[in-house]
């Protein structure tokens, strides 16, 4: 058998799940969609003493528009998000980001909460959470707390969730109607993790840019907001020279890693090119 032995629990409620995590005191792992955790267990890179499987808690899967906020249950499948009319209308950037996540067969199982809690630096959903300024709800023995996107990711594959906390909900501010958006990604094969990816959300007022949000994936240990580039667009507008300056600022802001897929220099170059393309694609998309 591929995975090492573990004790298996499939609680029916979140409270029961939190109780189990507390009992195992950091030795248990939460099983969401399993599209990253089970491969790691098959390789025995991960060998938790116990799995707490959230797949038998149906109340954790939902997509709800609640005023200006879209709430998505942590166990909502990526496939459900892909085909959700609410997401398409209110969070078009998330809709676009999902199409870059793995493949249809992995999106059938993979969940939004699982992807965020796994915090792969090259994954698209952490990048989208940053660009959309979302937040997550975590429930632990002491109750619930919310964690903003910028405070969730601490390093590669590591979040600020405590070992006995479960990510239960993701909240996104609905994007203003007419907001322009784009995801640009470079990977060896569509569906692979990004070598570099950029998410872009723009709110325009004529040629002016009322709001710009740019975030990276694959470039460093955590997804980053490119605030210097955002400021350039908000102050100088969306003419070609401003976009070029923003792309240069994006490249200057990142501190990429080198690995077998590409050098740090290559990723820095991609950051500049993809930032420019993402802004241009967003602008080309809507009048």
């Amino acid at each position: 058998m591929k995975p090492a032995k573990f004790e298996y629990h499939a609680p029916a409620t979140v409270d029961e799940a939190v109780g189990l995590l507390k009992r195992y005191n950091g030795e248990a792992r939460v099983l969401a969609g399993g599209q990253s955790l089970i491969p790691m267990m098959n390789f025995r890179v991960a060998a938790p003493a116990a799995l707490v499987d959230l797949n038998r808690i149906p109340s954790l899967a939902y997509i709800r528009a609640d005023g200006d906020t879209v709430r998505i249950g942590a166990m909502t499948r990526q496939r459900a998000i892909e085909f959700s009319p609410v997401v398409r209308e209110k969070l078009p950037l998330l809709h676009e980001a999902i199409s870059w996540v793995g493949h249809l067969p992995t999106r059938s199982r993979g969940t939004i909460g699982g992807s965020l809690a796994h915090a792969d630096p090259a994954a698209e959903l952490p990048m989208a959470l940053q660009a959309l300024e979302g937040e997550v709800v975590a429930r632990g023995p002491a109750g619930e707390r919310t964690i903003k996107a910028g405070d969730l990711f601490s390093s590669s594959l590591t979040t600020t969730l405590k070992p006995d906390e479960i990510l239960t909900e993701i909240r996104f501010p609905a994007s203003p109607p007419g907001a322009a958006y784009a995801v640009e990604e470079f990977a060896r094969r569509h569906g692979d993790f990004a070598i570099t990816a950029i998410a872009c959300l723009l709110v325009r007022d004529g040629t002016r840019c009322k709001m710009a949000r740019l975030a990276t994936g694959g470039v460093g240990p955590v997804p980053l907001r490119l605030t210097a580039a955002e400021t350039i667009l908000e102050q100088r507008g969306l003419a070609e020279d401003a976009i070029e300056a923003a792309a240069a600022a994006a490249a200057a802001a990142v501190d990429p890693m080198s690995d077998h897929q590409g050098s740090a220099e290559y990723r820095r170059h991609l950051t500049q090119v993809l930032t420019r393309r993402a802004v241009q694609k967003a602008l080309a998309r809507k009048p």
């Binding site: 058998m1 591929k2 995975p3 090492a4 032995k5 573990f6 004790e7 298996y8 499939a10 195992y24 030795e27 399993g34 599209q35 089970i38 491969p39 267990m41 098959n42 390789f43 003493a49 116990a50 799995l51 499987d53 797949n55 496939r79 085909f83 793995g102 493949h103 249809l104 067969p105 992995t106 059938s108 199982r109 094969r189 569509h190 569906g191």
Partner: protein
């Protein structure tokens, strides 16, 4: 931490319309349960870490990779494997198209190709060639037979629309 307890779990599920029941360790992967416990060896175990797609099945009607799911998670589920596609001697329209277009050489990836393509054609019944290529990048063929696989899927799409 002490050695995890080794208790068996019950798995009751429906595969290709037939009820099955078995017992296994929680760590048993669904693909191994299908092959070893139920004797359904049509589903192939390739990379066994969710990359190659050979083990793709339909889980409650949606394509999923059975090498990165636990058998116990399929308790109560309805599964379709490649064995469930043909009706007696009559091949599924997609199987027929694979046959006619010579869309397999060694055949190792074929069960995964078929199951992934069936789900893809359900969500996109009239795809472009580019869309087929992008979707089928979820299953790896190392005979480099994609050309004919793409042709077969494009040929099967209208037939599957007609029979839907």
């Amino acid at each position: 931490m002490t050695e995890p307890k080794m208790s068996l779990v019950d798995v009751r599920l429906t595969v290709n319309g037939k009820p099955y029941a078995g017992q296994c360790e929680p760590r048993k992967l669904l693909v191994d349960f299908l092959r070893e416990d139920l004797g359904l060896t049509g589903t192939h175990a390739g990379c066994e870490h969710g990359i190659c797609g050979a083990c793709t099945i339909l889980f409650n009607g949606e394509a999923a990779r059975s090498c990165i799911m636990l058998a116990v998670q399929a308790n109560g589920a309805e599964i379709t494997t490649v064995e469930g596609l043909a009706k007696g001697a009559e091949l599924h329209p997609l199987q027929q198209a694979f046959h006619e277009h010579h869309a397999l050489q060694c055949g190792f990836c074929t069960p995964g190709m078929l199951m992934a393509a069936i789900d893809f054609l359900k969500v996109n019944p009239a795809p472009t060639e580019h869309e087929v290529r992008e979707a089928m990048s979820s299953v790896i063929c190392r005979c480099t037979g994609y050309q004919n696989i793409v042709k077969a899927i494009l040929a099967a799409a209208p037939k599957m629309r007609a029979s839907a």
